[in-house]
């Protein structure tokens, strides 16, 4: 794969972080782009973390929690599911490809699934390439567009 | 081209010593890294400075060591917000920014030859300490000096290292008080205004200087009035949110007066002239 891209993962401690551990224990090889932020629960994820991360220049954001109904805190991922779905649907309007953000569920035992998720998402983000950033990149783009319209 | 200094640019200084005064007050003794500037550093008792933790911000504190003792500049910091909590993590050797001196100072010239009564509460003792030490260092210029210093409890009493000297000196009277009885406490127990009334200082040829939390100031002023002090015999020093410290940024004004340049020291007579917006 080409040069590493900046992919940030937000994982719940009980299922998905454990799933990533399980993948490690099983030596399930994964691309190295992903950096994981450990949180207690997917319900802890303010959708703004996703937006802040993407507009701040990350090329991809991956959220993973316990499977619905398996939340360690019983309801956290139910709320997360709605909020994350909303943020995914929101991205197109601010000009960010929704493929740069995915949320999914991986249990602590699903090492293999974690590997599949990381591989798949990393590939997906690489296919989209580096993100165009608000600020410098987009300013240049805006100028270019303005020039072409003039 | 500019000849004047950039008023926003702090001097870099090194923390020499950190003293845990009370559970939520720490004192920092700092020296400017530039030895020449440190040697030439001039200020007056009551002037304040801005301490910077770069990356967090600046906050204002009175320089509570007197200009007569220039080994270091001393600031006492009570834990309240972001800057102060960051300051509290500092240890000797750490670098800070200092913008000082700022503001006006205690009118010590006009106090010469008079009796002086200091009334300080809690962290409000800090500015009084500067002037008190300055006067003690120029003892002959002043007549009787008395100090009433109160805190909530013995632990909340700052400047414990000064207290033995102040309590035993023959050339001043010191009364210490705490709000409620505490084991091992051998001084007064009672609220400052009440103890002040008990002390019953004469207003004759006397200046009272007071600083402390707003509620204490309010009742201390009442007590001083009751004792017969005139408005211009009472001096206090104010605290406000400041940013620039040089009268530009526009937030510390009370009507026409900017606390950072016109203050922080005001007589009660001056305060009464100001609009009511403390």
């Amino acid at each position: 794969m080409s040069k590493e891209l900046r992919i940030i993962g937000f994982l719940c401690n009980w299922c998905s972080y454990g799933g990533a551990d399980t993948a490690g224990v099983g030596r399930f090889t994964q691309p190295t782009d992903l950096r994981i932020v450990r949180l207690p629960c997917s319900g802890r994820i303010d959708p703004l973390f996703v937006l802040k991360t993407l507009t701040g220049g990350a090329d991809g954001v991956l959220v993973s929690g316990c499977h619905p109904r398996d939340c360690h805190y019983s309801e956290g991922n139910f709320y997360a599911r709605r909020r994350l779905e909303m943020v995914k649907r929101f991205l197109p309007v601010i000009g960010i490809d929704p493929g740069r953000f995915e949320y999914t569920w991986v249990s602590a035992s699903e090492g293999q699934r974690w590997q599949t998720v990381v591989r798949g998402f990393t590939e997906q983000v690489h296919a989209l390439g580096p993100i165009q950033r608000f600020g410098k990149d987009a300013a240049a783009m805006a100028a270019q567009l303005a020039a072409s319209h003039a | 081209m500019t000849t004047m200094m950039n008023p926003y640019l702090p001097e870099i200084a090194t923390v020499l010593e950190v003293i845990q005064e009370t559970p939520n007050i720490k004192t920092f003794r700092v020296v400017l890294n530039n030895k020449d500037r440190m040697a030439k550093f001039k200020y007056e008792p009551g002037q304040v400075g801005q301490l910077s933790v770069f990356g967090v911000g600046e906050a204002t504190f009175v320089i509570n060591s007197p200009p007569t003792r220039m080994e270091y500049l001393q600031f006492s910091v009570m834990l309240t917000g972001e800057v102060t909590s960051m300051l509290h993590t500092l240890s000797p050797g750490d670098q800070v920014g200092v913008r000082a001196p700022l503001g006006n100072w205690f009118p010590y010239e006009s106090m010469k030859g008079k009796n002086i009564v200091f009334v300080g509460g809690g962290i409000g003792m800090a500015p009084l300490r500067t002037l008190l030490l300055f006067m003690l260092d120029n003892r002959k210029d002043y007549k009787n000096i008395s100090l009433l210093y109160g805190a909530r409890s013995p632990e909340d009493m700052a400047f414990k290292y000064d207290l033995p000297d102040w309590s035993t000196r023959k050339d001043m009277t010191t009364v210490l008080t705490i709000d409620r009885e505490a084991p091992g406490w051998e001084h007064k127990v009672g609220l400052i205004p009440n103890v002040l009334l008990e002390m019953n200082p004469s207003p004759k040829k006397t200046v009272a200087i007071t600083c402390g939390p707003p509620i204490m100031i309010k009742f201390t002023l009442q007590a001083l009035k009751k004792l017969g002090f005139e408005d211009d015999q009472i001096v206090t020093t104010l605290e406000k949110r400041m940013k620039c410290g040089v009268g530009i940024c526009g937030r510390c004004n009370i009507g026409t007066k900017y606390v950072c340049v016109d203050g922080p020291v005001f007589t009660y007579a001056q305060l009464k002239e100001l609009p009511n917006e403390l």
Binding site: L48, R89, Y103, Q144 | -
Partner: protein, 322 residues
Amino acid sequence: MPILDELKAAIAKRLPELDVVIGWGKGFDALHHTPVFITSEADLDKLVLGPLSVQNLATYLTRYPKTKKIGVVVKGCDSRSVVQLLQEKLINRENVVVFGFPCEGVVDLEKVKRAFEDQGMEAARVSEASFQGDRCTLTSGGKAGSLPMADLWADKCNRCQYHDAVISDEFVGQRLERKAEDAYADVAAFEAKPLAERQAFWQEQMSRCIRCYACRNACPLCVCRDQCIAQTREPNWVSQRTGVEEKFMFQMIHASHLAGRCTECGECERACPVGIPILLLKRKNNKEILELFDYRAGIDPEAKPPLLAFKVEEEKINERGW
């Protein structure tokens, strides 16, 4: 009886039990109304009503202590904000008296400005304005011009589904019972543009932002106000740096905090002194909320906001997700 007189009568009737009634009065020129605060019957003379009554007065409700008795005059769209505030228990039903009326719509002053500018007239120099039937007539700099109202209605009025207040204690006039369609065509049209163009659009628009937070403070549902996380260091979501991404972050905060709550009164966009079309972001969320949860905010005071609720089995969210 003209609606305005009916409204005055209705307010006069309820005024004795109220601390204040908020309505609209004449503004600084012929093209402006401004909120008025009625505390006595004499104040009733100040009351006006019409296509210039643009402000959503529900925004004032949360600025009073909950115990104050407040009357508020609402357009259909404004009434939804009241419902939303009730739903979130941010106001007490028994302490709010809602005066509704059939709202024909309000003008978009920006449209007025531009349309008359095309006729060589400056709206900022208006001396007279009248709204009769379906035409708006303006006198400015000694010249008079007239335009069809159809060109001047605010976008939200053209797609309005709630001309009559959805909640009211006193409703004056005949209900309009009119309902336009709103298929979120504006959102769809914007999203049809290339991705980079969308981002560049915001880049350009937000570069004008002066961070005055008029959008937030005009919003009837931005109830944090003094405690908004856009202005805190703890937590520190938005830095004071100059970048557009920092300014835009607040718009994402606003949109995110309004998801499932926004009643589309459009005050954010109207209040913006530099004309940034930020309602689009909230409309986008509302479109998705409607699709996902079949929910519109500000209709049912008993409903639960969709993002403060969940279903174990979500019908429209793919459980396995990605």
